[in-house]
């Protein structure tokens, strides 16, 4: 495999990893605060739809992005009310949210655009366009570094860079700020937070809210950056892969990046069976590549490769009075 092909593959991996990364970090905030979230998928889907719909209507992708975040936040609020306020089952709430998004996006899209549950194609300012980083063109012909900079690092949409910045930011928030300390505490032992005079409900809603914002960006990325418009079920299981990546990453920010890049690479490879064939000399079933993230997650969960220990209070509603 020559350098250019490799770069093209990695480039594709970065693009495909971005929504996974955003959703994965979204899940990290929520689950670190003790709220399990299998509704990442649904939130992404809702955001994808509303961002595309609004971007199309207004012609401005940034307004679209805000709308997408809004849609995702709305579902987050439902999840919060169900699992924090009413202390319901977080898993069931997540399942419900995924269905709600799958159904509502199509129902609304159909009644809004009458195009079989999709939005019209976005063009121009209604979608995120690739950004050429400074000097990319100038450096292009420098051997090795040039192509790497030009092909791999430059030329992505703004949201890709946003996602990449969010990783160190999250790490910093989690481990260097008051909010991060409290967030981690509330996922480990909410009673400790409560008796220390900090509102468990407030913290958990904040976490769920951040999760909503990030899922919103992830969804908007799908519909307005990776693609130019919304199509039915376009999240296509990415929320679950992000969840898998979160477990794979043991609920830590940097590993989230590596895990989602790995899963993004697997997806990119699944698109290039010819590359595998050429490099390895034998062909790998695309179905196997599709299933690999899930299989890896099961292996991790089974504890054969380092045990993944979730936050201790995860999934349990905080109940003071029976």
């Amino acid at each position: 495999m020559d350098l250019l092909t490799l770069l093209q593959l990695l480039d594709s991996a970065v693009r495909l990893a971005t929504p996974l990364l955003l959703a994965c970090i979204a899940g990290l905030y929520s689950e670190r605060a003790g709220i399990f979230d299998i509704g990442l998928e649904g939130k992404m889907l809702a955001a994808a739809f509303l961002s595309a719909a609004v971007a199309y209507t207004t012609g401005n992708v940034w307004i679209g992005l805000l709308a997408g975040i809004g849609a995702s936040l709305l579902l987050s609020a439902i999840h919060g009310i169900a699992s924090i306020t009413f202390r319901g089952n977080q898993l069931i709430s997540g399942v419900a949210i995924n269905f709600l998004a799958a159904g509502l996006t199509v129902v609304i899209a159909q009644s809004w655009f009458a195009q079989g549950g999709r939005t019209p194609q976005l063009a121009g300012a209604a979608r995120f366009n690739p950004i050429t980083l400074p000097f990319a063109d100038a450096l292009r012909d420098v051997p090795v570094i040039g192509p790497i900079y030009y092909e791999l690092i430059s030329g992505h949409t703004a949201l890709v860079y946003v996602a990449l910045v969010i990783v160190p930011l999250t790490w910093w928030i989690l481990y260097a700020t008051r909010f991060g300390l409290r967030l981690r505490a509330v996922g480990e032992n909410p009673a400790a937070v409560d008796t220390a005079g900090v509102s468990v409900v407030g913290l958990r809603f904040a976490a769920v809210g951040i999760c909503g914002v990030l899922c919103g960006i992830a969804g908007a990325y799908l519909a307005t950056a990776l693609q130019a418009g919304f199509t039915k079920d376009m999240s296509a299981g990415r929320g679950y892969i992000a969840l898998a990546a979160l477990i794979f990453a043991k609920w830590k920010p940097w590993p989230c990046l590596w895990a989602t890049l790995l899963f993004g690479l697997l997806q990119a490879l699944a698109l290039r069976p010819d590359l595998i064939q050429r490099t390895l000399g034998f062909s790998v079933q695309t179905q196997l590549l599709d299933a690999l993230p899930y299989i890896l997650t099961v292996v991790i969960l089974a504890g054969f490769v380092g045990k993944a220990i979730p936050p201790r209070a995860g999934g349990e509603p905080y109940v003071k009075e029976r």
């Binding site: 250019l4 549950g117 693609q227």
Partner: protein, 308 residues
């Protein structure tokens, strides 16, 4: 009244189903008649929709897509008084008309255009689901390209092996980018909703796209070289018009019957030179009169111009 059932992509897929929908609409506008329609959401609905329309007296019932072959085979006999029209597949029953197109011929023509428009000497193809029908497109395309430029390199990729491959624009985009990195500068897609992503990626990355089924030149004016027309609209229109007098049997539509072709309009007039158009017209006449034969992949499941 006539009825039409669209396949999973939905009637606004900008290609196959939409073309069928346009034919039906044209009929309705011309005659003032009414027709029933349904867009399938899942495979399991096929039979239910067919039966429901047959039960409620719709006639003829047109279905767009080869996937209806199996259920239709089973239930055609239950409704001997109803006429069924199936597009893209052959069902042998006394009350069924099967319409098939010689897609390889249309693909041949756009393949020639692609080869002539390519500056890099490499053109490519993105198929939807990997089935013989789509290989037929690819094969004709490669043959046409090689006819126009024997040195041309043709890359072909399929999106997937399941019906989801018809509706995966993200994958379409990524495949197109991968092909670009291998040198392609003209890409032909026969991939339903996935093709939207292909054309988008082509437009975003200085490539020329080629549309399929319906005229898709308008989607990215100046960046879609042409479209391989498959006149599903005409087929539907004719079926609706014939009404209950639809003739059972197999109808095969090629260049000669104007069933397939390539699209020229304002959007691509600057991309196709008079010279290019002349050569294609010549080939078109040759195919119509039989002096040029285009290999049909489905006749022997092999392709002389391309290996998959």
């Amino acid at each position: 009244d006539p009825a039409i059932i669209f396949d999973l992509g939905g009637k606004f897929d900008k290609s196959f189903n939409e073309s069928a929908f346009n034919g039906a609409t044209k009929w309705a506008e011309e005659t003032g008649g009414k027709f029933a329609e349904v867009e399938l959401q899942s495979d399991a609905q096929r039979e239910q929709a067919l039966r429901r329309f047959a039960e409620s007296g719709m006639n003829p019932i047109v279905m767009a897509g080869f996937s209806f072959a199996t259920p239709l085979q089973d239930l055609a006999g239950d409704y001997p008084d109803t006429k069924f029209v199936i597009i893209d597949a052959v069902v042998d029953a006394p009350n069924v008309q099967s319409i098939v197109f010689n897609e390889e011929q249309g693909s041949y023509l756009v393949g020639m255009l692609a080869a002539m428009a390519s500056k890099t000497g490499t053109v490519s193809f993105v198929g939807g689901m990997d089935i013989p029908l789509i290989r037929k497109f690819a094969c004709g395309y490669a043959e046409g390209a090689k006819a126009a430029n024997p040195d041309i390199k043709v890359i072909a990729n399929m999106t997937g092996t399941t019906p989801a491959a018809w509706n995966d624009p993200v994958k379409g985009t990524e495949l197109t980018l991968a092909q670009k990195s291998q040198g392609s500068d003209v890409v032909f897609q026969a991939a339903g909703g996935t093709g939207v992503g292909v054309l988008q990626a082509a437009a975003d990355n200085d490539m020329l796209g080629i549309g399929v089924d319906a005229n898709q030149n308008y989607m990215h004016p100046g960046q879609v070289l042409t479209s391989m027309l498959k006149r599903v609209d005409n087929a539907v229109y004719d079926a609706f018009k014939a009404g209950t007098d639809v003739k059972p049997g197999i109808e095969s539509l090629g260049v000669a019957q104007d069933g397939v072709g390539y699209a020229m309009d304002d959007n691509n007039k600057d991309l196709v030179t008079a010279d290019m158009q002349a050569k294609v017209e010549e080939a078109k006449a040759g195919i119509a009169d039989g002096s040029i034969t285009v290999h049909d992949y489905m006749s022997d499941e092999s392709c002389p111009a391309l290996t998959f």
